[in-house]
């Protein structure tokens, strides 16, 4: 028993407290703040506040209080949005990075639900979900030790740079793992049936209101639907590969396969179902930037 506990402890330390470079954690800070900024500048979240009372009928007081949303104050919400823009820029360029990450996370926790609150309190696929969690976690860590104006990066790897980055990766892994799991939980193994996948491909190609323009968008889906084997593979991808994505947390080899594979998967889903996965750029959180920089320096020296 003692040996088992020892091994679990060793594994835990290996996953969360291995010496890691400051650069990778700082890169995560830049990645999530820029990503959140990208989505925030592409929406008009504060406008929701000006919706008439009919839109708020089904929203409970608990939900409003939880996100500190008080309808009817769009100007105040625009103020919060501008503040969020400032703090996200600060986090990205490294001006008071921990404070900026914390304020960004808090402001986004309030602003993000505005997008959907009038019909659901969970804006989970609108782009901010992983950002809120990651920015909050990064604010607890020395995420400003690198990629910060006026400061040189520490050379020594440390365990303090490991666990916040790993948690940020865990948040992204949730999106894949639970996406696979939810299909089994809600439907069962029959979700993988090629007939089910065929129906989904056909449905998305038949909803003319939910379709992107371009030659590929309306042809890939029906084409896949007409090939039993492709539907079978798509089903396996939707469940098995998503579940296995969790291995990226423990294995760098798994990262080499599953991360590019996920990007490829999103391209296919984009073409076949018109679904744009806003979290796709966040896959860069799995890149070992320090390794990349060292390699580039080495190549430069050699040449």
């Amino acid at each position: 028993m003692k040996a088992f506990i020892g091994r679990v402890g060793q594994f835990w330390d290996q996953v969360f407290f291995a010496p890691a470079p400051a650069l990778n954690l700082a890169a995560a800070r830049v990645l999530f703040s820029v990503h959140a900024l990208w989505v925030l500048l592409s929406r008009d979240l504060p406008a929701t506040s000006s919706l008439p009372p009919e839109f708020w009928m089904d929203v409970s007081q608990t939900e409003l209080f939880r996100f500190l949303i008080f309808p009817g104050h769009p100007q105040l919400e625009y103020g919060f949005q501008y503040l969020a823009i400032l703090t996200l820029v600060g986090a990205a360029i490294g001006v008071m990075p921990r404070l900026c990450c914390l304020l960004s996370a808090l402001l986004l926790y309030h602003l993000a639900p505005l997008e959907t609150i009038f019909w659901t309190a969970s804006p989970y696929q609108r782009g901010f979900t992983v950002d809120v969690l990651a920015l909050f976690t990064l604010s607890l860590s020395p995420c400003g030790d690198a990629l910060r104006i006026g400061r040189t990066s520490p050379k020594e790897p440390s365990s303090v740079y490991c666990w916040p980055l790993r948690l940020a990766q865990v948040y992204l892994v949730h999106t894949y793992f639970f996406s696979g799991y939810s299909k089994l939980y809600r439907v069962g193994l029959s979700w993988l049936a090629p007939e089910n996948l065929r129906s989904w491909f056909l449905l998305f190609s038949q909803q003319d209101q939910v379709m992107r323009q371009g030659a590929f968008f309306n042809t890939v889906g029906p084409w896949v639907a007409d090939h039993w084997l492709l539907c079978l593979i798509a089903g396996a991808y939707g469940v098995v590969v998503n579940l296995l994505f969790v291995s990226t947390l423990f294995s760098s080899r798994a990262r080499w396969f599953f991360v590019p594979d996920a990007a490829f998967f999103h391209v296919l889903v984009f073409l076949a179902l018109s679904i744009f996965w806003l979290n796709t750029p966040q896959l860069l959180v799995f890149v070992n930037w320090q390794w990349l920089v060292d390699r580039l320096h080495k190549n430069a020296r050699v040449s």
């Binding site: 019909w119 969970s122 939910v210």
Partner: protein, 207 residues
């Protein structure tokens, strides 16, 4: 007993801040950090495995269902003074996002009293007509691409661009709104794209 989802999230924030603030120089308070990590993992797994939303911890139920034999989707059409119906560009709902607005329609619209429904429809018609006028004048309000233009983040679902500013926009003012429910079988529609049943379920006309 149901626990308000805000409470576990508050626990996440409190434990996180405790772990973050207890750091001394370059050394973590390992015990507090461990507690925070374990709590975070349990909360994430709890939301996912039980498929309950504790946003920002989500269950991520993406396309996690079966397509029913008959699917039904809503379609709003604008009506002009001559009674002609017009397709509505998804951007003409701005600042409302089309998918969120449709989500609200599906969940709440028919739970409203007739009076409230008409008030909501009047508000929506106002949005549409205002945007139609701006589009017709060639100056649409850039609700979603004001800052980043073509580099703006796309929406989760795609939508066709039906209107072109100053060129392809309904010319007559909108005076009414119709809501149809369209029903079809995916297999039958695959064989014949016209195999769709359309039923008018609500109509609003400005007084």
């Amino acid at each position: 007993m149901t626990v308000d989802p805000g409470l576990p999230v508050l626990g996440f924030a409190v434990l996180g801040l405790a772990a973050g603030l207890a750091r001394r120089g370059a050394v973590d308070n390992r015990r507090l950090v461990n507690v925070f990590i374990v709590y975070t993992l349990v909360l994430g797994l709890g939301a996912g495995l039980t498929q309950r939303e504790i946003w920002p911890f989500s269950a991520w139920p993406l396309v996690a269902g079966k397509v029913p034999a008959q699917v039904t989707h809503p379609r709003f059409l604008a009506v002009d003074a001559e009674g002609h119906e017009h397709e509505i560009d998804y951007r003409a709902w701005g600042p409302l996002e089309f998918d969120e607005f449709i989500g609200w329609e599906e969940k709440s619209f028919f739970r409203l009293s007739q009076e409230s429904r008409d008030r909501a429809a009047s508000y929506l018609l106002g949005i549409l007509e205002g945007n139609r006028q701006r589009w017709a004048a060639g100056k649409p309000e850039p609700y979603f691409d004001r800052y980043l233009g073509r580099f703006s983040a796309p929406f989760f679902l795609g939508h066709p661009a039906l209107w072109i500013p100053g060129v392809q926009v309904p010319r007559n003012p909108f005076v009414g709104l119709r809501l149809y429910k369209e029903t079809w079988s995916v297999e039958e529609r695959h064989r014949d794209p016209r195999d769709v049943t359309r039923k008018l379920v609500y109509e609003y006309r400005a007084p």
